[in-house]
């Protein structure tokens, strides 16, 4: 499988723990890096690396009213704790993969990002001790630098240690673990705050709680170090070169992206801004409107994450089996519209709305991200996913701030209407995407059998073209751009791409853990 890697452009080869390799050192039983047990250990550490990041990301949301009363801040100031987490990731989405490939390498890169995580959270806690809100924002900024890049690192580790069908399961497990981390945060932090409140009060209490939360970041760092050691050891034993994250980000690719891709980015952006800022502000909303105690309000907030932990793998399987991605996206946006509508205009138990939102959110994540791989060629996927995530983070950064201002000036009904407006825009984008796609080849909404048939027909057509080309001396048309030349070349040589370049799996590497 390693031979064909050379033919695929500048991408570095992925590590392949196949059967026929030279080994040195310990290769028996648990020691063998190829053994199931060893890889299971590695999987465990791989999943735990992200735990600290997701646990601490929603710390502000779980303590919203405590933050506001202890630090004396308004909602508009509070949301900046979320907004400044997203700002560095507008740029880091592009360079994260590059940093991991060329600058630090996967092992050192992961450890460095975890260090950022720990330092960021500690500075965040320090802001609490010193009653300095600006310091808290600095801490969240540094935390953000580490957080998102860490998920790219996690995915890269996964791609290098697992392959084929296993990879699907590993990605699913990582995602579920991340969600469990968020759920634990919401359910643990209020009781923790109440316990610390017996000994400290005011902003010192906030500082102590955040410092205790930093322990999870330290544990992530520990897991990253262990992973680095295991990875280095495996490399030495199996005598392999270091792996890369796979794709290079080229900004010149952007002009080749089809309209479908931009509509997908629009859908992604407009959908996620109606979910994450809502979770950040949800606690006080549930306390005020539905008269929930703080701990119960946190529990309602966490329902979305816990449902996602279970439902995401299930929906991933569903979409894999049935295809028809746009239909699922459309359905999930409708469901999210309905749940926000319930929360805004009725007093029905919020658990109903939040469960529906959790299911809808899982469905969208499973259906939307693989679509990118269907419209963008494989070697541009790095840029595509990087761009989509950058746009998503930009939207989150700006809209979170706006949401905070809306709550202060206009109340929660207006906030919900604001989110409903964004979801309507998302719906419009999806419909336009469907129109655009059905006017081309309709692949995004085909079922799996239809796609296979379409793929076969296309390959047949290309082989016919190839025969035609060899039959005549002069090429039928002059190629237009780099993009088309590359396309022609690849289809002509009929290269069998390695499994990690399989479109179905490829999409998952850069799928965001959000």
């Amino acid at each position: 499988m390693t031979e064909t890697d050379v033919l695929c452009g500048e991408s570095t080869s992925t590590r392949d723990y196949g059967e026929s390799v030279e080994t040195r050192g310990c290769t028996s039983g648990m020691c063998d890096p190829r053994s199931r047990f060893h890889r299971f250990i590695v999987l465990f550490f791989m999943c735990f690396v992200g735990f600290g990041s997701y646990f601490c990301y929603d710390n502000p949301g779980a303590l919203q009213d405590n933050f506001k009363s202890d630090m004396g801040i308004t909602t508009a100031q509070f949301v900046q704790l979320y907004s400044w987490y997203s700002w560095p990731n507008v740029f880091l989405c592009f360079v994260g993969g590059f940093l991991l490939d060329s600058v630090f390498g996967i092992r050192l890169g992961t450890v460095i990002f975890c260090v950022f995580l720990v330092i960021g959270q500690i500075i965040f806690a320090l802001g609490g001790f010193l009653d300095a809100f600006w310091l808290m924002i600095v801490g969240r900024f540094i935390f953000g630098v580490g957080g998102e890049s860490l998920s790219v690192a996690q995915n890269t580790y996964a791609v290098s240690w697992f392959k084929g069908k296993e990879l699907n399961m590993v990605f699913g497990l990582q995602m579920s673990f991340a969600r469990v981390g968020s759920t634990v945060n919401f359910n643990l932090l209020e009781p923790l705050y109440n316990w610390v409140h017996q000994y400290y009060q005011g902003y010192t209490c906030v500082g102590v709680v955040l410092l205790i939360a930093a322990i999870t970041c330290v544990s992530s760092l520990f897991c990253a170090i262990v992973l680095a050691v295991l990875d280095y050891r495996a490399e030495k034993i199996l005598n392999k070169q270091s792996s890369g994250s796979g794709e290079v980000v080229r900004f010149s690719d952007v002009k080749d992206f089809p309209l479908s891709f931009w509509l997908m980015s629009g859908t992604c952006l407009t959908y996620y801004v109606a979910i994450f800022p809502f979770i950040g502000l949800g606690k006080v909303f549930f306390e005020r409107k539905f008269d929930y105690a703080p701990a119960s309000a946190n529990a309602v907030n966490s329902i979305l994450y816990i449902i996602s932990a279970v439902a995401s793998p299930a929906f991933g399987l569903l979409v894999d089996k049935t295809g028809r991605n746009i239909f699922w996206v459309f359905l999930s946006i409708l469901a999210t519209l309905a749940s926000h509508g319930l929360l805004a205009f009725t007093f029905i138990n919020p658990y109903v709305a939040m469960c529906m939102m959790g299911l809808a959110y899982s469905m969208l994540a499973s259906a939307l991200w693989p679509m990118v791989a269907l419209v963008v060629p494989e070697y541009q996927l790095g840029t595509a996913y990087g761009l989509m995530q950058a746009v998503q983070n930009l939207g989150l950064a700006v809209i979170t701030m706006v949401a905070g201002i809306i709550v202060d000036q206009g109340g929660y009904l207006l906030l919900e209407v604001f989110f409903l407006a964004w979801l309507c825009l998302s719906l419009a984008c999806t419909i336009l995407l469907w129109l655009r796609d059905s006017s081309k080849n309709g692949i995004l909404n085909m079922s799996i059998e239809q796609r296979d048939r379409w793929d076969n027909a296309r390959m047949l057509q290309e082989s016919l073209e190839r025969d035609q080309l060899f039959a005549s001396a002069v090429p039928a048309t002059a190629p237009r751009s780099d993009f088309l030349i590359r396309n022609r070349y690849l289809s002509r040589i009929g290269a069998a791409l390695p499994l990690s370049y399989d479109p179905a799996v490829r999409g998952l590497v850069y799928r965001s853990l959000r």
Partner: protein, 441 residues
């Protein structure tokens, strides 16, 4: 051939986009028209409501030069419509009291001042004396209670720590800086700086501000209560007060009201349906008071199918002089207690109703302020609270135009796009045969 095919597709795509843009413009245009139409309709609805004219007199008929005229203030606000007059008689001689009376157009208030000052009943009457409806309430007590265990509510704390201070022992002075008198708005403030001769200190005061409007609108400070032409808004602030040295770091504040209503055809026992009751309603819309989704009110029963009054407020009070959402604490209303036998002493209600208590029902209402963990009154030490009092059904918040407009446009555009898309796909399927994948592309 390829070039032509490409330009054909491009042209087609451009056409698609143009059609889409045109449809979106059409949709937006229709929505804007619709909203404009809605506003017109709402505008005409407002015209049907009677617009009132306000006029004010202070201490009416008090002989000039008499010393007791400057010992207190009585403000009589008339709100005239075309068919009747609503009187808001605010009395600050003794307990702050409001008498709300609806009379025929042009009725005047006449007070016999000598008897009024000496506390004789029936010294204040309307001329002509028949009234269509009356309702009175009086702020009789200011409660201070010791909340040792931070239980917040007055009925849960130890009864020995609850002190009531009679408001007739305050001296109320009118704050002329704050007064406004016009046809549309009457506003005045009364400030008390001492209790029973002891002053509160440099910055201590109790301030009551009254605003009477002639038409619908929203308040100017949080929580932006919606008023109409038949209501007056009362803002109460207590700042750094110390009553009889009962203030401790764990003291909370409460207010005690006496509510009196005249019930027609009252015979013998009072039934529950004749009494004033507490109503707590949940509202969806917190646009004007972010985070507050409830409205509390004290409602009188309805007589003659329209006559009724109310006290209405949002259960939020503020612990800062400048009201801010971050400084808000809860307002608690306790169950009303009957007052039997009826005692109207020391208030204007005695001067007005006199011995004519056979048609009266009197109840006491208590309110307290605070939230668990707020640091008690001493934290700031300030409490301000606003409520509406008026005649007729209480005004309620409505969802604003902004919300309706956003939803109409937001849901309208995708709906229109879906319809267009379905039509487009139908026509496409009917007009072009299925392309042969190998040859056409």
């Amino acid at each position: 051939n390829n070039k032509r095919w490409l330009t054909g597709r491009l042209g087609y795509a451009v056409l698609e986009c143009l059609v889409m843009a045109r449809n979106m413009y059409l949709v937006t245009f229709i929505c804007v028209l619709g909203i404009y139409g809605l506003q017109l309709v709402e505008g005409t609805k407002d015209d049907k409501e009677l617009v009132r004219k306000l006029s004010v007199e202070e201490n009416p008929g008090c002989p000039v030069g008499e010393s007791f005229c400057s010992n207190g203030t009585l403000i009589h606000i008339r709100s005239d419509s075309e068919t009747d007059t609503i009187h808001f008689v605010w009395n600050f001689f003794g307990c702050p009291t409001l008498l709300l009376a609806r009379t025929q157009l042009g009725a005047n208030l006449s007070i016999d001042w000598t008897s009024f000052i000496s506390g004789t009943s029936g010294s204040a009457v309307f001329d002509p004396p028949e009234t269509l409806y009356t309702f009175g309430w009086s702020l009789t007590t200011i409660w201070t209670f010791l909340d040792e265990k931070d239980e917040v509510e007055m009925n849960k704390v130890n009864a020995s720590g609850v002190f009531g201070h009679d408001t007739k022992n305050f001296y109320w002075a009118k704050d002329d800086k704050d007064s406004v008198v016009s046809e549309d708005l009457v506003k005045f403030s009364m400030i008390a700086k001492d209790y029973d001769g002891q002053t509160f200190g440099e910055e201590g005061y109790i301030k009551i501000t009254v605003q009477v409007h002639s038409k619908e609108g929203y308040g100017t400070v949080l929580p932006y209560l919606r008023h109409n032409g038949n209501s007056s808004q009362v803002d109460i602030s207590l700042n750094k007060i110390d009553l009889n040295n009962t203030m401790t770091p764990k003291t909370r504040i409460g207010l005690g009201y006496l509510l009196v209503q005249q019930v027609p055809n009252l015979t013998g026992d009072i039934s529950v349906k004749d009494k004033i009751y507490v109503q707590k309603t949940k509202t969806l819309d917190d646009e004007n008071s972010p985070g507050v989704f409830e409205m509390h009110s004290l409602r009188t029963p309805v007589f003659n199918s329209y006559d009724q009054s109310y006290l209405e407020w949002k259960p939020v009070s503020y612990t800062g002089i400048i009201r801010d959402i971050a400084d808000s604490v809860d307002v608690h209303i306790y169950d009303l207690e009957d007052q039997s036998p009826i005692q109207l002493d020391d208030s204007f209600l005695w001067s007005f109703y006199g011995n004519n208590i056979s048609t009266l029902i009197a109840q006491r209402a208590n309110i307290s302020f605070g939230t668990q963990g707020d640091g008690f009154f001493n934290a700031t030490p300030h409490i301000s609270w606003s409520y509406l009092a008026g005649y007729g059904p209480p005004p309620s918040d409505t969802v604003s135009m902004l919300v309706i407009m956003t939803l109409a446009v937001g849901l309208g555009i995708p709906a229109i796009i879906i319809i267009i898309a379905i039509i487009y796909l139908f026509t496409k399927k009917l007009s072009t045969p299925k392309d042969d994948l190998l040859l056409g592309r």
